[in-house]
């Protein structure tokens, strides 16, 4: 599966697609990150198949409004699709937040922490 979605840059945040992977980078600390994340995720939903990878390794900051965007996406995705979230082993905040997100749907959400 190859996503065909243009890269979005919004202040210090970048969201892009490469192959079957969605990449979140920079700082997502906006008042309303839905403005740029939601339209992107809507395109992902229309193109995704069985498995999606979300790579947050280069995400330096994510506020709770940004986490809500991720939760909204996981709620909207078809129930039989699986999501693999790649995080940076050295960023404890990523491990902690993603572990709780995984616990919401153990069957369809998996985590991979990478030492980069």
């Amino acid at each position: 599966m190859v996503f065909n979605i243009p890269k979005q840059t919004y202040n210090r945040a970048i969201i892009s697609a490469k192959g079957d992977t969605i990449i979140l980078e920079g700082d997502i600390d906006h008042n309303d990150p839905e403005v740029f994340i939601k339209p992107f995720f809507e395109k992902v939903l229309s193109q995704m198949h069985e498995v999606l990878i979300i790579d947050i390794r280069n995400l330096e900051f994510l506020n709770s409004a940004g986490i809500k965007c991720l939760l909204d996406f996981l709620k909207a995705k078809p129930t039989d699709t699986r999501v693999l979230i790649k995080s940076d082993k050295k960023k404890t905040w990523q491990q902690k937040s993603m572990a709780v997100i995984k616990s919401l749907d153990e069957e369809n959400i998996s985590l991979e922490d990478v030492d980069i």
């Binding site: 700082d27 600390d29 906006h30 008042n31 839905e34 900051f61 506020n63 709770s64 409004a65 986490i67 809500k68 939760l71 909204d72 996981l74 709620k75 050295k90 960023k91 404890t92 905040w93 902690k96 937040s97 709780v100 997100i101 616990s103 919401l104």
Partner: protein, 180 residues
């Protein structure tokens, strides 16, 4: 030990500036990225709440490190409506029930099960779980310290909400290079 107090408006861009300012100051006292991120997260979520729920006037953030340098405490104040304080108290009760992880999961489930498209209400749960902080609050009636210039409001319906967050940190030893 140190003490810092800043007043800010409801401009969202102020949050990033103040967050980075606090991290710069604490980089002399904090050992690594994770510690710095925890402090940044707590400061940011508290200021975001203050910006979102302020009705009038400014807001203030205080940061104090105790004499033993193993704890820091944030105090955030803003003026808000009584109905917002009641909502805050409801969330405060939820996020202080059970373990920090269970409370965070409960708040995430509420996001998933809610149909309104607006706010996350995850901030306090994150502060407790990811920030590993104890949260408490006070309500004050004298609005004067946060009012700007000639602002006047019906004080019967508005209060100052002061949210406190106390967290332990690993202080840096003298001569240790900062890893932020």
């Amino acid at each position: 030990m140190f003490y810092l107090k800043l007043k800010f408006s409801h401009d969202w861009d102020d949050i990033v500036i103040i967050r980075n300012f606090i991290i710069t100051i604490l980089s002399r006292k904090i050992t690594n990225y994770d510690e710095a991120y925890r402090v940044a997260l707590v400061a940011s979520e508290l200021m975001e709440n203050a910006c979102r729920y302020s009705t009038i006037g400014g807001a203030s953030i205080e940061l104090e490190q105790g004499i033993n340098e193993t704890h820091i405490e944030f105090r955030i104040k803003n003026i808000t409506k009584e109905e917002n304080i009641k909502e805050f108290e409801k969330i405060f009760h939820i996020i202080n029930t059970g373990s920090a992880g269970e409370a965070y999961k409960e708040m995430m489930l509420r996001v998933i099960n809610r149909n309104d498209e607006t706010i996350s209400q995850l901030g306090l749960a994150r502060i407790r779980y990811e920030g590993q902080s104890e949260i408490s609050y006070e309500i004050e009636s004298d609005l004067e310290p946060l009012l700007k210039g000639s602002e006047r409001i019906d004080s019967q319906k508005q209060r100052i909400l002061c949210v406190k967050s106390k967290m332990s940190i690993i202080p840096k030893k003298i001569g240790e290079a900062h890893g932020i």
